[in-house]
Symmetry: C2
Subunit: 355 residues, 2 copies
């Protein structure tokens, strides 16, 4: 029996989570394993209900579960609130509270979805299979920040700060992951300008010594943002900081065609993990059975793999998604001519049937 | 008579600057205006010669000129040096010393070069004409930074810091520029996480009140990095910080097909300006007559426009570039089938002849 904290969140969050749970139920009966779901309010809905993005007692509950499955949080409704009362704070509290320092974001181009990529055929034909390994609980997101009046002028600041031990542990994750892939790590920084990047680069070099079988290169972040568009096939594992990873993983997800397809896992020490789609709450299409549930369903697959060591079950889900795509089923975001347009629920159902 | 500080720099810098000067000489004779060139060493070549990226006395000389035309600085040869001795420090010293806070980076798709864009035809056909207005002398580049040992762990930090007055002056530049264009400003920040971004957003809103004819929207930087690839035609002026502008302007330059085409102007108060191509030193092709001189030639055109108020001369250069492209002349970076391949020098000569 596995206890899972389930956080539907805002916008399309609840709809896509619903489908992921239906898929997990199918896995449960097929693989003879039991899941207990602990539903938790976090994000905008928690602000509306309790006045805070996530209650302390709920955070404690989440920490007691083996894994967390999250939909998405946030929306324009709560955009005017002060920093510490935004829905996004729930995400930061969860990430920080669970100490999940390694955010794994695979950006894979499905053959069936090649036409959805904004890139030219010549580029896309070379294939895209990138794993972004983003540091998740350090850097500017968590460093000292504030606002003050200085000589009559208002000033605000955030601190990008990294320690050697923080860089070392995330670098290890990247090298370990590369070993199971094409054995290439591209570490992205801005070492020509930032002190924190110089420490980053140095430390990554040190860690690399333990992985002589993995090829390491360094790239400046501005160049990386170009190379991702110019020739994404050159990348295997991209290792980078919280802030740069936020930007580059979104760019990577766009070039493979649909952000509605992309899952993510955030891991700490041991088996604890936070699993969520890369996409946001998409308030414009919420509640209309239009959202693509695949990213969340694939996040559930990652949960089975990393937190519950259920590789076969994870593969079964991933395979079921591939079959659904091969058979031509598409939600609106990935629809192209001559495919079969389906809604959120039907996509979930079809994937379930393929398991 | 106009005094121009000329900084060829490293790698392909000297070659592309040479062609820009030939073009300026042609303008000189055609428009009856005199240019005096003061040559200054900066970057790697200055490190080799004097042991510093730029000498203080040279910086003073530059400050006494009306404008600065720069090739490019840096290269792997100097990558191992400590932070304060890197070629890039010359750039920072020049930008900071000249107080050029506004970096204007136009990313325009030339009809003739549509095939060079990595984006699909459907996307490119909608047109790309973006002006990135990047804050250039604030943020993490210039904020407090350092390295220290804390509880036995090495820690390094950089500070993203912005004051209201810094944001106000760069926002004004963006709104003024938008007025002469499609009247749309997209301000890019990470206000859901960063205090400095919240001050940024607030201040941009205030400035916007003086420009009711310009449409303002805000976008998170992660989303912006996606939207640039998904549908660049949605953008007119992008207003953003130093760090985010570094990343997004490079991405924008890649989607229009060649970074070898893109000029930039860095402006402060009054007419002082620093003009440079967006591309780097490209050490792999340096000294082989392969580099594209157009970005530098167009930077010289921007200098005529912004620092010397010579709109006609600027237009003459821009027009001459267009004719060269229409006639099918291409350097290697923008070469496609059935075009006429030329080297750095010949491209400069052809553009000169078209003036
Ligand atoms: C919502 C936001 C705080 C978050 C982040 O910046 O980390 C999101 O963009 C992400 O990438 O998960
Ligand atoms: C060379 C580097 C310091 C510089 C920067 O980051 O500003 C460059 O990338 C640029 O964009 O002009």
């Amino acid at each position: 029996m596995h206890r899972i904290a389930v956080i539907p969140g805002d916008g399309i969050g609840p709809e896509v989570i619903e489908q992921a749970l239906i898929v997990l139920d199918k896995i449960s009966s097929k693989f003879g394993v039991k899941f207990e779901y602990i539903f938790i309010d976090a994000g905008g809905c928690a602000i509306d209900k309790y006045g805070v993005p996530i209650r302390e007692e709920d955070l404690e509950l989440v920490k007691k579960c083996e894994a967390t499955l999250l939909g998405a949080v946030g929306g324009p409704k709560w955009d005017g609130l002060p920093g510490n009362l935004r829905p996004e704070q729930a995400l930061l509290k969860l990430r920080g509270g669970l100490k999940v320092y390694a955010n794994l974001r695979p950006a894979v181009l499905y053959d069936e979805l090649k036409d959805s990529s904004p890139l030219k055929k010549e580029i896309v034909d070379k294939g895209i299979d990138i794993l972004v390994v983003r540091e998740l609980i350090g850097g500017m997101y968590f460093g000292p920040k504030g606002r003050e009046v200085k000589d009559g002028d208002e000033v605000a600041y955030d601190t990008e700060v990294y320690s050697k031990s923080e860089v070392r542990r995330i670098a290890k994750v990247a090298f370990e992951a590369a070993r199971k892939r094409k054995k290439k790590v591209t570490s992205v920084d801005k070492a020509n300008i930032l002190e924190s990047s110089r420490l980053w680069r140095e430390t990554v070099e040190e860690v690399a010594k333990d992985y002589p079988d993995v090829e390491l290169s360094h790239m400046y972040v501005d160049n990386a943002s170009m190379q991702l568009v110019k020739d994404p096939s050159q990348f295997d594992v991209i290792l980078t900081s919280n802030m740069f990873g936020d930007i580059l993983s979104d760019e990577a997800s766009m070039i493979v065609g649909s952000i509605g397809m992309l899952a993510s896992a955030s891991l700490g020490e041991g088996r604890v993990g936070l699993y969520e789609p890369i996409h946001g709450t998409a308030p414009d299409i919420a509640g209309q059975d239009l959202a693509n549930p695949i990213a969340t369903i694939l996040s559930a697959a990652m949960m089975l793999r990393y937190s519950f060591d259920m590789e076969d079950a994870a593969k079964a889900i991933e395979n079921a998604v591939k079959i659904a795509l091969k058979e031509g089923y598409r939600t609106r975001d990935i629809y192209t001519e001559n495919c079969k347009l389906v809604g959120t629920k039907q996509m979930g159902k079809i994937i379930c049937e393929n398991i």
